[in-house]
Symmetry: C2
Subunit: 437 residues, 2 copies
């Protein structure tokens, strides 16, 4: 696990200039680094030269990406700059991810970890039922660990896990604050198997600390600690279709019991979970497709990424023309797609009184051509080389949503988090440097 005080990382200084620092670097990590604009870069990566922009044919791009894929992702020495975290001043950045269910093992977190390179695993030699995932750069904790009532306590008091009374926000705040200050914590473990609270586990401050669960933005004190926040908003229709698929088809539950379990959660969900989305920097909405009339299978999705404007270190993605309103069906003369095709929408909007930009994808990718074609038309995606989104999506083609907007936007949010991280590191390193002078 990376120690906060002296791990090596990479800083791409704003404006394309690179600042290189060498301090005490006990564990040198080397990554390729280039400030990239989607419109005009030529990058070489993994020994494959790929030039962005309109000059390359689609098939050339696809071949290059395939070659890259087959070479794996080990060698990364190209144009690398190594910067050591400059002592305790380089504090961890804190990311909040609110989602209704699924903790620790979520696809979103695996995509995020993958963007930074390296796999995530539970703490070594610890509780096998730990909800924590640790990689070189990132530690993800599950906020269920801050349940103040275990399964039996909740049953006894008649409260759900969604109810703030079943959660210890004071402890959550104290511990997230400690991590942000570079201090280790002894965090409780909620055992999802037994439903009991297990003995605490030690968590050291990582570069990026992700708190994932039901309430990352519920408590104002915790919310204020977040450097970036995401709300994953699955619409009721899609939630229902997914639950039918999993609980009815795979687990043999009845339709009635599924409906009852959704209905039982809804009041607390609406009261305590849903309102957090107004505080998120990015909301990913998952809705049924509009490409097929009256579709309710929940297989083809319309996914919207709602990006808050004016957030420090975060520039919303756009399609073609920043600030205007565009709908785009890429399938046509240059790109052929199978039914029902792919449709994008981009435009400005307001969301809970905030100015936002919305990027929407309806439909799914059937071929690699489609994915790289779409990537090449998006701007402000914070990639480090041409095709990085496509590479990430290919690498995890087995993850749910790798062929639709959920995978695309999760990957983009991963890149955005890396960008936020690098900007903060660069700024703090610069301010440290100027303090020395």
């Amino acid at each position: 696990m990376a120690a906060a005080a002296a791990a090596a990382t990479i800083v791409a200084a704003p404006g394309g200039a690179h600042s290189v620092r060498r301090a005490a670097c006990p564990r040198q990590r080397v990554s390729s680094s280039s400030s990239s604009s989607a419109s005009a870069i030529v990058s070489s990566f993994h020994g494959v030269s790929v030039s962005s922009g309109g000059s390359l044919s689609l098939s050339t791009e696809v071949s290059a990406l395939r070659a890259l894929e087959s070479k794996g992702s080990r060698r990364r020495g190209h144009r690398a700059l190594v910067v050591c975290k400059a002592g305790p001043e380089q504090r961890p950045i804190i990311i909040g991810l609110a989602a209704d269910s699924g903790c620790g093992k979520s696809t979103f977190m695996r995509r995020l970890t993958s963007v930074f390179g390296g796999a995530a695993s539970p703490p070594k030699g610890g509780n096998p039922d730990s909800n924590t995932l640790i990689s070189d750069t990132t530690t993800v904790i599950c906020l269920d660990d801050y349940h103040s009532l275990d399964r039996y306590g909740r049953k006894e008091k008649g409260v759900t896990a969604l109810d703030p009374r079943a959660n210890n926000f004071d402890l959550m705040y104290e511990q997230v604050k400690a991590i942000k200050e570079g201090k280790s914590i002894e965090k409780p473990i909620y055992n999802h198997v037994t439903g009991l609270l297990d003995p605490a586990e030690k968590i050291d401050p990582p570069k990026i600390f992700v708190i994932e669960g039901l309430h990352p933005m519920y408590d104002e004190r915790v919310r204020d600690l977040l450097d970036f926040s995401i709300y994953l908003d699955i619409s009721d229709d899609v939630k229902f279709a997914w639950k039918i698929q999993r609980d009815m088809a795979e687990r043999g539950h009845s339709l009635e019991s599924i409906k009852a379990s959704i209905a039982a959660r809804k009041p607390d969900f609406d009261a305590y979970i849903d309102p957090q989305k107004q505080h998120a920097d990015v909301v990913i909405q998952v809705l049924p497709t509009q490409l097929i009339p009256d579709d309710n299978e929940g297989k083809i999705l319309r996914v919207r990424m709602i990006m808050k404007e004016g957030v420090k270190d975060f520039e919303p993605v756009y399609l073609y023309d920043e600030g205007s309103t565009i709908s785009w069906i890429p399938c046509g003369r240059k790109l052929t797609c199978s039914y029902p095709g792919i449709k994008f929408f981009y435009g400005p909007d307001t969301y809970y009184g905030h100015e936002v930009s919305v990027l929407e994808m309806d439909g799914q990718f059937d071929k690699l051509d489609e994915l790289i074609y779409v990537e090449s038309h998006l701007s402000n995606i914070s990639t480090k080389f041409y095709g990085e989104i496509t590479q990430q999506m290919l690498k995890h083609a087995d993850f749910p949503g790798s062929n639709n907007g959920t995978g695309l936007f999760q990957t983009i949010v991963g890149l955005k988090i890396r960008d936020v991280f690098e900007r903060i590191v660069a700024r703090e390193a610069a301010s440290l440097e100027s303090a020395k002078v």
Copy 2:
């Protein structure tokens, strides 16, 4: 008037290379010439440097255009190449424009002539009721001159001017063919004032010969002579709104008489005029706006430019991504527009069994900002410098349609005709050169 055998003109060779020829050039015409791509050119014109692409702010672009406007359009020596028409082998190119009414003095033709520089006027010292307009490069004739029956003859036989029996297609074919072969003709004149056929006028072959009127594509022999063809398709709703405006408000006609006159023309129009649009390389459709529900004032227009694919020397205009389907509302964060705004559509389609690309504009320009912003996002517009469309529209701000899609698309068609002309000239000059070797 330019003599076909030895007038000087400009050739931008395909692919950006310029071929320069100097032959006998009794009347040197000098124009600026550069093969331009909308995405990455830096041009200097009229002493004002303007760089295209996203790097310039909108206000800078607008200032530059205003400066340019105030300097007039005389000096054009920049990057000029002078090429003389290489004798009789350099044959005139023939353009057909089908339109329901209005001949000779049409706005479309004045825009086209203006693109080539220089004003159009009737033949000097000839019949004051001549329908012909002549400029340095272009001669426009009105096909009404080929009426075989005058107003009284038509009345006697009970046929309209739309009826092919009232027109002499044999003579039309012979004379257009003669012009195409570089020969002068003695063309009849239909006098719109008296309704009689006047004595013929002599027409010399120009560089560009435009036949405008009811039937430029009706007769197959004439159609086959056309190098490029346009059909101006005013929808019934708009035609009616315009007629109400002009005949009722300005001329005191009754609503009933207007309806009757439209109804009387309709059968012949549908039989003889309308079917020509399937043969046109470009159809400009003028429809009521869709931005205001149930609008029938005919003031705000939705204009569609339907461009045939696979036409030699003609590359359809596109918006953002060639071959995909896009709708675009430019009004937003970067560009503010007044109600009801502006909306563009672009996409592939089929039209009478032909593959076409459609570009549509709904709404109108209120400010110069809007026009230059839109121009900067269109590709394949065949401009010679950044902002040329805006400059043309500004120069003729008093022409009808200068603030909407009719003016925009007429201007673009003018640029396209110039492009077709230059490509043909370049090709024929090259083939002449290789024949000499």
